[in-house]
Amino acid sequence: MSDADSGRARDALDGAADRLLGATPVERVALALASTVTALLIGLVVVTAAGYDPLMFVNDMLYGAFGTERRLTITLRETSYFILAGVAVAVAFRTGVFNIGVQGQFIVGMLATTMTILWLTPFLPANRLGGVGLLLVGTLGGVAAGGAYGALPGVLKAYADANEIITTIMLNFIAIGVVFFLVDGPFRGEGESATRTASIPEYAELPPVLLDGSDFSILGLVATVGIAVLIYVLLTRTRAGYDMVTSGHQESAAIYSGVDAKRTIVRTMTISGMVAGVLGALFIVMHANAMPNANGINTYGFDAIAVSLLAANHPLGVIPAGALFGGLDAGGQYINVASDVPPQLIDGIVGLVVLFVAAPELFRMAAKRTGLGGDRR
């Protein structure tokens, strides 16, 4: 390539980067929608090439996500989980701490919620009121456990200089292993043949409201959106949030302004773990009703990294991003049972959507890092 060519190429790149960095929120949403459609179209080509009927596929996908009240509740249920996990990741990423351990914090939160409710059941009246009490205390137990499990790598990073990416990944395995051991042994429900605890009493579950369907309560979704808003307010409107986000952007400036960098890291990881703990609690009281085998639990904690990236780590952006993931998940589940399209193909298409939708955000981050676009002085 001649020099002039590479100069032009650089200019073109610069222009493209400018476009990406300068995208307005509306443009970003449009971009996300266009990416989803494009990814689905490419997915359909693959489906057709593999010998399946693409129209059927689209139909099944939409039906699976929205076709009946029951299907819709599955979409909304999964959406709630993706939002909570996404917020847990986003709050850490925004603050410059890379919490890859949301999955572990989620699992620990699940177990803590289950066991808190099971232990307290004999002491509270077996009615609606006692149920509400169990539900609240159980949720608190999950939040506390998730927060503590998140604080651990935070402390390790702040005071022992241990890289949080590595420690959180390792703590995921530890959580799965230890919880499996507990549920398989000491905490196994009486007479359970499978690896699971006893079920929490029915009156302690989150009751379905308005929509009747599959293990879903609108109350759960409302609480989820409420937490996303709460985290948004925390990060943008409070002193603590300003300290946290400033640490994420430029630690030296945060220290200059009087922020205790070590405490901020621990605080961030704790909050992130607490949100993961809420997810654990919701999963139990709305859906699982007992702690299952830790090995077989959906990987919301990992998928949430994509959800958060898709939302540019914005706690409110996580809501539509989580909805997209929830819809794809519910549609995919349906296709899996209702058609002979192999599940791998569905996963592949979901992967394409993630790739397409998250790619502009990745390029945007890369452009920012390499200094392409923007002001040149």
């Binding site: 300003y242 400033t246 200059y256 009087g258």
Partner: protein, 526 residues
């Protein structure tokens, strides 16, 4: 006439560049003669960098002509300018930090041998270049750039340009980041380069430097070229008048002696630096209410560590720090901010500002626990926004837009904003580290006046600067640091530049004359 060149290598005719409604360059004419240094002098925002960015192909001019070596040129990118033999050394270095010096120099122009980078060939070529100009860069060829001192990084940038065959070098405020010794080194280098026939454009806002090194000086003001004068045939006063359009007073005004309480005091202070070595040794010092204590010294003699200890950013090894009678040695940075000890930091881009934030969000930096900006847990953004607007207006920050991203401001405007924020904090004690570094003359005077105003309002000020004239102009007492110790504390009225120079290199003024007695007056608590 000291003009060495007889051949014009660059000529800019009537260059006009607009950004929206703002005219950054208004029909500017500029010529560079072969083998000379031509200084482009002006305040921040006067259009110096814009003009050179037009020459370097970073901006397209709206009007005017660029002629290089007698040929009219249209540069659409820096690549074209480089091909035409123009190199630019930016204020913020364009180096890849984790890569070695060798890799940085050849980046984009790698010599290729059978499809592979010919590292040995590159090495030989760079070593030859370094030999010719007596550069010390060749000894760092395999060192990652991030491990180098700023002065060396700058020389790497120069080698990079020379390696690309630059005959015309544009230096954008090259001395802003350098210590006085490094500045001398740079000037020697510029001499050497012009002797070899290369031509240099030297962008600066420092009168002394322009007069010292330049053959010709063109002064820009508000985007217009005021005049071009001979480096030897001008005076500081003339240049200053052209730059700001009025006479600037460099003189120290007479002031009353202060008699306030010793509000801020350190005793037997020892502080360790980043590498665990003791950088501040047994320092006793104090500042009274309504007094400016100047800290003078060649950079790197413990000033940074002392300031960090005073402001709560660095733990103290031993010794005491007292504020208004309280021992605050062990208190946190935030606690000290709340007590009213504020700090204009040495490095505005690393500490004083969050570059990604707009000015509104930066106005909260350091004020997170200060009323009226916070109410309990919550930030009152409306109050912060008003605060940001006040600072921008009062300190004449360009652009006067509180929602501007701070990274988009020029260095001088960033500094004005930081100084404004800290002063508006209504401090009891102000620690200011090089508060006028990189700021244009008009703003320097403005900041000086604000400091004097604070002083009359009874604030104790610890003022660190490497510029002697500024230290002498503002300080009530000057403590001279050398190798972490206070060599002496002197009265600025009674000390000459030569005497200060001696102290700064570790000599004492023992037995010189009766000035000793006067100094002991200053040292004692009057």
């Amino acid at each position: 006439m000291s003009r060495k060149g007889s051949r014009t290598v660059v000529s800019l005719d009537g260059i006009t560049k607009r950004f929206g409604d703002i005219v950054a360059n208004d029909e500017v004419d500029f010529t560079l003669e072969a083998g000379t240094v031509h200084a482009l002098l002006g305040e921040n925002g006067s259009g110096k960098t814009t003009l050179m960015s037009v020459l370097y192909g970073l901006y397209d001019q709206d009007d005017g002509r660029i002629v290089v070596e007698g040929e009219g040129r249209e540069f659409t990118s820096p690549r074209d300018a480089i091909d035409a033999g123009i190199g630019m050394i930016h204020q913020h270095f364009q180096l890849v930090e984790p890569m070695t010096v060798l890799q940085n120099v050849v980046l984009g122009q790698e010599p290729v041998d059978r499809g592979l980078v010919d590292e040995e060939g590159a090495r030989a070529e760079i070593e030859a270049l370094c030999d010719r100009y007596e550069f010390d860069v060749d000894q760092y060829l395999d060192t990652p750039v991030r491990d180098l001192d700023i002065g060396v990084k700058q020389r790497v940038e120069i080698v990079k340009s020379l390696y690309r065959g630059a005959e015309i070098l544009v230096f954008d405020e090259p001395t802003a980041v350098l210590t006085p010794q490094e500045v001398e080194g740079l000037f020697d280098l510029m001499d050497e380069l012009t002797k070899q026939g290369r031509s240099i454009v030297f962008i600066t806002h420092k009168l002394d430097e322009a007069m010292e090194i330049a053959d010709e000086i063109t002064v820009l003001r508000d985007g217009e070229a005021v005049d071009t004068v001979d480096g030897d045939g001008t005076s500081k006063e003339e240049l200053a008048r052209m730059m700001v359009g009025r006479e600037v007073l460099f003189d120290r005004q007479a002031r009353d002696r202060t008699t306030g309480e010793r509000i801020f005091e350190v005793e037997g202070l020892h502080v360790r630096g980043d590498r665990g070595l003791e950088q501040v040794t047994d320092v006793d010092a104090w500042a009274r209410e309504g007094e400016i204590l100047g800290i003078a010294g060649v950079q790197g003699n413990g000033q940074s560590e002392l300031v960090q200890a005073l402001t709560g950013l660095r733990p103290v090894e031993s010794g005491r720090i007292r504020f208004a009678g309280d021992d605050i040695t062990e208190t946190s940075r935030r606690d000290r901010i709340e007590r009213g000890i504020v700090y204009v930091p040495e490095d505005r881009q690393r500490e004083g500002l969050v570059l990604e934030y707009d000015l509104v969000r930066n106005a909260l930096l350091g004020n997170q626990t200060v009323a009226p900006f916070v109410d309990g847990w919550f930030v009152d953004w409306a109050a912060v926004r008003d605060h940001a607007r006040d600072i921008v207006e009062e300190y004449d920050v360009e652009p006067p837009e509180p929602t501007a991203r701070s990274a988009s401001l020029s260095g001088g405007n960033q500094q004005k904003f930081v100084v404004g924020r800290e002063i508006n904090h209504a401090p009891q004690v102000l620690v200011a580290s090089h508060p006028t570094r990189g700021v244009d003359i008009g703003s320097v005077e403005f900041i000086h006046n604000r400091l004097l105003e604070l002083r009359s309002n009874g604030v104790a000020i610890v003022f660190v600067s490497s510029k002697l004239e500024e230290i002498q102009k503002l300080s009530d007492r000057i403590a001279v640091l050398y190798e972490g110790r206070v060599v002496d504390t002197v009265d600025p009225d009674d000390v000459t530049d030569q005497e200060l120079g001696l102290l700064m290199t570790g000599n004492t003024l023992d037995g010189s004359d009766e000035s000793l007695e006067r100094r002991s007056d200053v040292r004692g608590d009057t």
